[in-house]
């Protein structure tokens, strides 16, 4: 079971709700994925547009809603966004996300750490999206974050675990769940993340922009399960040279 703060989850796949062609498709993908944690975002209301009811279908599926602070460029803006999100959804769970650079969307480590510390004191369950920096992840843990969410590659880039070497260190050193978030572009990437020993992965673009998001969501669910089972079973060691699987020399001797 995946344990984060005071909750447990059966699924180790988290889904982002963005970029889907429709809210209905997003809900179907969530159902197909078996995920129990879904991120959402916050936006200023446009008074001249009708309000969509996104939340009732998700609530009916019993998923933990995880609002993010995307759009915030500083710790101050993130705290404001967090307080809005807490009122809007009536949950203290939060994905802390501060990325001022529009081209690469890299999370600002300093603002993130500052915001995390404040938000934990304000009673939030903070899941911070961050760079794959082992020291930063430790500092986030020390200020009381419920998990750390280091990136595999840039958001939406689908490039996989570019930060693999750092992720291994983070996973080795963490005493809170490590949820690899961003850049996971294929189920094989998700399986690789779980084989490293990650507690969970968060996927959005690779599913939402697939030709068949529902099938892709299910594929990811299988991959996460496979990777996690493999990690628990104990992965085989790498070897530079071959180690025979069959008694070849005995067979030759018999001739």
């Amino acid at each position: 079971m995946l344990r984060i703060a005071d909750k447990t989850f059966n699924s180790r796949l988290l889904l982002g709700s963005g970029k889907f062609a429709s809210p209905q498709l997003m809900q179907q993908a969530v159902a197909a994925s078996g995920c129990e944690l879904v991120t959402l975002a916050l936006k200023r209301l446009q008074l001249d547009k009708p309000q969509d009811d996104l939340l009732s279908p998700l609530r009916a599926m019993n998923v933990q809603l995880l609002p993010n602070t995307s759009g915030a460029k500083t710790a101050k803006e993130a705290v404001f966004a967090a307080e809005l999100a807490r009122e809007a959804l009536q949950t203290p769970w939060l994905k802390l996300e501060i990325h001022p650079d529009a081209r690469y969307l890299m999370p600002d480590p300093i603002e993130t750490l500052l915001a995390a510390e404040q938000l934990v004191k304000l009673g939030f369950v903070v899941l911070p999206y961050c760079s794959a920096d082992p020291v930063l992840c430790k500092r986030l843990e020390q200020v009381g974050c419920a998990a750390v969410m280091p990136l595999g590659a840039a958001i939406g880039s689908n490039q996989g675990l570019q930060t693999r070497a750092m992720l291994e260190i983070i996973i080795e050193q963490a005493t809170v769940p490590v949820i690899i978030d961003a850049g996971i572009g294929a189920p094989s990437h998700a399986a690789a993340a779980m084989e490293l020993g990650a507690a969970a992965v968060l996927v959005n673009t690779a599913i939402a922009s697939s030709d068949n998001p529902v099938a892709m969501a299910h594929a990811f669910a299988l991959a996460v399960e496979a990777g996690h089972s493999a990690f628990n079973a104990g992965l085989a060691h790498h070897s530079r040279q071959a180690i025979a699987s069959s008694p070849f020399t005995d067979f030759v001797a018999a001739l």
């Binding site: 709700s17 936006k43 209301l45 008074l47 404001f80 809005l84 009122e87």
Partner: protein, 66 residues
């Protein structure tokens, strides 16, 4: 009495609360958050919080995102 509501000027009768404002605008409250003069107003206080002349009211709502 006049307030700013998400960058639009809205005329109100005096002593409107946040809850009354939302009713007037016919807004569903699920997934909605309110800030007045950059302070987030807790949902539980919407029916008590009195708006003042020239208050800057901002409404936010939950949308999809990663």
């Amino acid at each position: 009495m006049q307030i700013m509501l998400n960058d639009s000027i809205v005329q109100l009768t005096t002593h409107s609360t946040v809850a009354e404002l939302l009713q007037l605008q016919q807004l569903a409250t699920t997934g909605l958050a309110v800030a007045v003069n950059n302070n987030v107003i807790a949902k539980g206080h919407w029916s008590e919080y009195q708006l003042q002349h020239l208050d800057n009211v901002q409404l936010f709502h939950i949308v999809t995102g990663g």
